[in-house]
């Protein structure tokens, strides 16, 4: 007996009770669809969170002085910056870079004081690296001719009741350890989609810092965007070789929690799907047991006329797997169309917007689902249904042909 015949019998058998088979198929379709959509939501949330972080402030790679990350001291600036810039300008893997002077200070106005991270930037080059300029909800992005202007996050602006042209004072310890205060006027208010970032970071022109701090002779941070994210590691390695006094880190080394969440997500999703599909497998087992009970006589007859146990076993297994093989394409198709539609129109979650912003994600989710998830989760369904087929198949083997057929 060949497998094709068994497959043929198995295939026809699942359509003997159409209603029952369709119920199981529908449950697999919905289970897999639900699982894939949840996977898509999780991946989208995580990706958008990473993208927000990378596009708003992290970039792909950052260069600091080796000592900088220890105390974030103003004096730990990048040395030999001109030589470094020459290298950066000529490397084809680098799309753009910027230079930042970073100061931790206390921002105060008549409403109150708040600890902030001041990013002194060159607006023209920063535009090429990060997208805060496109996240402005009020005012302009350093278009004023005034030197001491500032862009603040919406969350911080709300806390300190800052409006456009509001005056604020930033106090910090300078290179010599003396307390220095600088006066700024709010020129723009941004909303990056990451509430924590908006709460803590302000942008100023780096000239305003250097002109007021003659002892500060270089920059603290160089964020770099690569042309190809696959080139990040090799570029990082090569940049590190330029100067040992530098610390070159990729975004996942800087924002470790983001990278960790990204790594964990995949495992989490597969475990989640395994739980969902395990629940489904009980439905499959139940249906197959019913089918076997109905066909007890027929299976007994097959045993009587000489069908070996292995073929009986395989026949039941094929039937079970066919149920999922019918369901999978439908699941994949509706998932694909759903993801495709919401990847363009997006899902508006502004109802829970503040929560999402605290998580570092915008309020509109543009669904995405990598092709590997379609493939792997389909294989998982086939695996689960194959495993589910074992119990009914064993039950089929226990059928006594004499009892099943009542007579020979």
């Amino acid at each position: 007996m060949n497998l094709i015949t068994l497959i043929k019998i198995g295939w026809r058998n699942i359509w003997r009770n159409k209603k029952r088979s369709l119920v199981v198929i529908l449950s697999i379709v919905l289970g897999l669809y639900g699982g894939l959509i949840i996977a898509s939501l999780m991946i989208t949330l995580n990706t958008q969170r990473m993208d927000t972080a990378i596009n708003t402030y992290l970039a792909d790679i950052q260069i600091h002085d080796k000592e900088y990350s220890k105390e974030y001291s103003l004096s730990d600036t990048i040395s030999n910056i001109q030589y470094l810039e020459e290298k950066l300008k000529t490397d084809p893997r680098i799309k753009s870079y910027s230079k930042r002077a970073v100061i931790n200070g206390m921002l105060s106005n008549s409403t109150g004081s708040y600890g902030v991270n001041v990013l002194g930037i060159d607006p023209e080059s920063e535009i090429k690296v990060t997208n805060v300029y496109s996240k402005l909800i009020e005012g302009d992005y350093f278009e004023s001719k005034r030197l001491n202007t500032m862009i603040v996050g919406e969350k911080l602006a709300n806390k300190l009741n800052l409006k456009l042209r509001s005056k604020v004072v930033i106090a910090f310890q300078d290179v010599n350890g003396d307390i220095t205060s600088l006066l700024f006027r709010v020129e723009g208010i941004f909303k990056s989609g990451n509430g924590m970032f908006d709460d803590y970071n302000v942008f100023v022109k780096n000239n305003s810092i250097f002109s007021n701090m003659p002892n500060l002779n270089s920059y603290h941070e160089i964020p770099i965007l690569t042309t190809d994210e696959n080139a990040t590691q090799s570029l990082k390695f090569d940049l590190q070789k330029i100067d040992n006094s530098l610390e070159v880190k990729s975004w996942d080394e800087i924002a470790v929690e983001l990278a960790y969440a990204n790594k964990m997500l995949s495992s989490f999703l597969y475990i989640f799907m395994l739980i969902v599909l395990s629940g489904l497998s009980f439905g499959i087992i139940n249906t197959m047991l019913m089918a076997i009970l109905e066909r007890k006589k027929e299976i007994g007859m097959l045993m009587s006329i000489g069908m070996t146990k292995i073929y009986i076993f395989l026949m039941i297994c094929f039937e079970t797997v066919f149920l999922s093989l019918v369901a999978i394409p439908f699941s994949l198709m509706i998932t694909y169309f759903t993801v495709d539609y919401f990847s363009v129109s997006g899902i508006d979650l502004s109802v829970v917007g503040s929560g999402l912003e605290n998580f570092g994600v915008g309020t509109i989710l543009y669904l995405k689902l990598p092709i590997e998830y379609y493939l792997n989760l389909s294989l998982l369904v086939i695996l689960i249904s194959s495993i589910s087929s074992i119990f009914p198949a064993i039950r089929a083997l226990k059928i006594n042909p004499v009892e099943a057929t009542k007579s020979i």
Partner: protein, 225 residues
Amino acid sequence: MIETQKLKKTYKQGSLKVKAVDNVNLKISDGEFTAVVGPSGSGKTTLLNCVGGLDIPTSGKVIIDDEVISSYSSDKMIKFRLNNIGFVFQAYNLIPVLTAKENIEMVMLMQGYNKQEMDERSIDLLNEVGMENMSKRRPAELSGGQQQRVAVARALASKPKFILADEPTANLDSKSTAKLLDIMSRLNKQENITFLFSTHDQRVIDRARRVVTLEDGKIIKDIKK
């Protein structure tokens, strides 16, 4: 030749032991057309089950062509049944999702025939039982008599030496019964296939050339016509 020696089969019904077949010694030569008769519960079906290797005797032996098949392992027994015994069931037991031709080919597939052989033989067998025009019909599209004729063709597909048939005419009308008996009788004579029936049906008993009567699991009469 089929032979049973001191064949016993006891079933447990709760705390009671029921002797379905009790010390039966029976020899059936090749080419016989034998009916096993008796009232309900006399052990006809159990005797056929034991002879066909579907049931394991409590004691005694079933010998077919000098082989003690009652001591065969389960797998060996399945292969033996496939190649030596054809079964005809009271309720036909055709596979509903397969056509008449495919039902017949099923047995040959298990035996490893190639497609051409199967095709030719299944058509021959359908001709033999007068079902050549209904080869593509599924069991649900056939009458009881037609289904039983397909079942006979299926039983013949493996070229068995013996056909064991349990109440093959029980669900058939007289016309279908006569037709079926004609076919089986012809096969018996032309192909020298041994037929062993269990039956209540007087029409079958009339056509049988040997009638073995069972009562309470024992042979009480054995008449050769």
